[in-house]
């Protein structure tokens, strides 16, 4: 397995644990010397872990449901409760995993830069939705906590902007793609934590 395309085709089987020992050994050998494929595998594992962590179904507790049900009749303008925040995050992460899967699958057929664009779109959507969830909950936070969270978020966003600008200047650089992906992951993880602070 010397070709990056073979590795990308093997990622679904790797995640499913279906690779034979010989193929696995070949894949490991390739990964040991190919940073780009390691990044692909890490991203696929990350997305897979997030997807597996999602609840199979999200049902409100009975006592919550009595309060929520009457509100379903009218148009809900925004997520108003932590439960909905979690639901939104779950949906967004599912969309993200789908986008990432599509991106990875497309790359196995045709390694085009559009795959990364789609992956990034998924990250952007996730970050935007989680940002909305955070903004809904920030009013419940102590001013000091809010300031601390947002100061850190600024640092994360600055790093993301720097990485993105570098990728704009050198769009075929796979290492920079990996840096941008890592920056998005950090932003999403931090927004998840920030939203959780609002719920607690």
């Amino acid at each position: 397995m010397n070709d990056c395309r073979d590795v990308r085709e093997a990622i679904p089987s790797l995640l499913a644990g279906n690779l034979g020992p010989e193929t696995r050994a070949q894949l490991d050998a390739h990964l040991a010397r190919c940073q780009a494929c390691r990044d692909d595998v890490e991203t696929a594992i990350w997305v897979g872990e997030r997807t597996r962590a999602l609840p199979r179904a999200i049902a409100p507790a009975r006592d919550l449901w009595t309060g929520i049900a009457p509100r379903l009749g009218r148009r809900t303008r925004r997520f108003a409760a932590p439960w909905w925040g979690l639901a939104a995050a779950a949906i967004v992460l599912m969309a993200l995993s789908s986008a990432a899967t599509v991106a990875l699958v497309r790359r196995t057929v045709q390694p085009d830069p559009g795959g990364f664009a789609q992956l990034e779109l998924g990250f952007q959507n996730a970050a935007r939705e989680l940002g909305e969830v955070y903004r809904e909950s920030r009013g419940t936070l102590a001013p000091g906590t809010r300031a601390v969270l947002e100061r850190n978020l600024e640092v994360i966003e600055r790093a993301l902007a720097e990485a993105r600008a570098a990728l704009d200047a050198d769009p075929s650089n796979r290492a920079l793609e990996a840096v941008v992906v890592a920056a998005y992951k950090r932003k999403i993880a931090f927004l998840e934590r920030a939203s959780a602070f609002g719920e607690s």
């Binding site: 000091g144 100061r151 790093a159 570098a166 840096v179 920056a183 993880a189």
Partner: protein, 302 residues
């Protein structure tokens, strides 16, 4: 599952604790299994948790007037205690909780600005804080610390360490097992005689690691612009994969402290066994941070 008796006990103790609003010191005690699951809540002040060789939990607390009320109780298997009704903007003297628990306890602590000090626990400890500092000494199976701005200090041979901060600094000394640290701006310092598995991720915090890594061990550091400095022993079998995109040339000091500089990336192996495909894996990636890797006869000795 907390039963009626347990709920009643909590209620009684909550009421008893409410009397502490007069500013009296309070003391609670109840029996507990060696691996009791304990939840501790104290948002403001100081929480000190110490393991002991008794099958009980003891709490000594000082809660100031209008500073909340002490509650506590539960079953032998699961209990919770803390200060309820705290106002984050309260400016009076802070509450202090001094808790003794069986050493094998599994403890979860919720803090806001309260400092959390944990010692002599062999079980599991999980702390969530906003700006409170977390200081842990001992050898717990699991130490999972999350704080936004508080500093984290972990000293001892914890098996599994997870530490996450925003701007808070993380200092880990003596951990040998599996260590994962993530910060946004916080400085990270890890010192160990031998670290089996370490991963550090930060945006702009500096990272300093001084440790040996065994043959099948791994150390991975990723930063955006935080500088990385790794010190390893002279006797070393390892494969290195170091890369920066916009940072200064990578500096490596091996073979008698001779400085070698690598413009953007460096992949090399040191030690006899690394030539056979064995050896520790040392990976550092950064966008614009400086990378320095060096060897010393005693890396953890400073």
């Amino acid at each position: 599952m907390i039963g009626r008796q347990t709920t009643a006990a909590i209620a009684v103790l909550t009421i008893a604790g409410a009397a502490s609003a007069a500013g009296q010191d309070r003391q609670l005690g109840f029996p507990a299994d060696p691996d009791v699951a304990l939840r501790v809540y104290n948002l403001v002040g100081t929480t000190r948790i110490t393991g002991w060789d008794r099958d009980s939990i003891e709490v000594r607390a000082t809660v100031p007037p209008r500073g909340g009320s002490l509650f506590g109780g539960g079953s032998r298997r699961a209990a919770k205690l803390g200060v309820d009704g705290q106002n984050p903007s309260f400016t009076g003297p802070p509450a202090t909780l001094d808790v003794r628990v069986p050493r094998g306890a599994r403890i979860w602590v919720k803090s806001g600005t309260a400092d959390v000090i944990v010692a002599e626990i062999r079980g599991e400890i999980e702390v969530s804080s906003v700006t409170g500092a977390v200081t842990l000494t001992g050898s717990p199976r699991v130490a999972a610390i999350e704080t936004i701005d508080g500093n984290v200090s972990i000293t001892g041979n914890a098996t599994v360490v997870r530490a996450r901060t925003g701007a808070g600094a993380v200092t880990i000394s003596g951990a040998r097992g599996d260590v994962v640290v993530a910060t946004v701006q916080g400085k990270v310092e890890i010192v160990s005689n031998e670290l089996l598995s370490g991963r550090v991720e930060t945006v702009s915090g500096s990272v300093e690691v001084r440790t040996a890594v065994p043959l099948d061990g791994q150390l991975e550091v990723e930063t955006h612009d935080g500088p990385v400095e790794i010190t390893l022993p002279r006797e070393l079998d390892a494969r290195f994969d170091l890369s920066t995109i916009k940072g200064a040339p990578i500096a490596t000091h091996f073979s008698g402290d001779v400085l070698r500089q690598h413009p953007r990336s460096a992949r090399f192996a040191v030690g006899k066994k690394s030539g056979a495909g064995r050896g520790a894996s040392i990976v550092v990636r950064t966008f614009s941070g400086a990378i320095t890797v060096r060897s010393r006869s005693n890396p953890s000795g400073g």
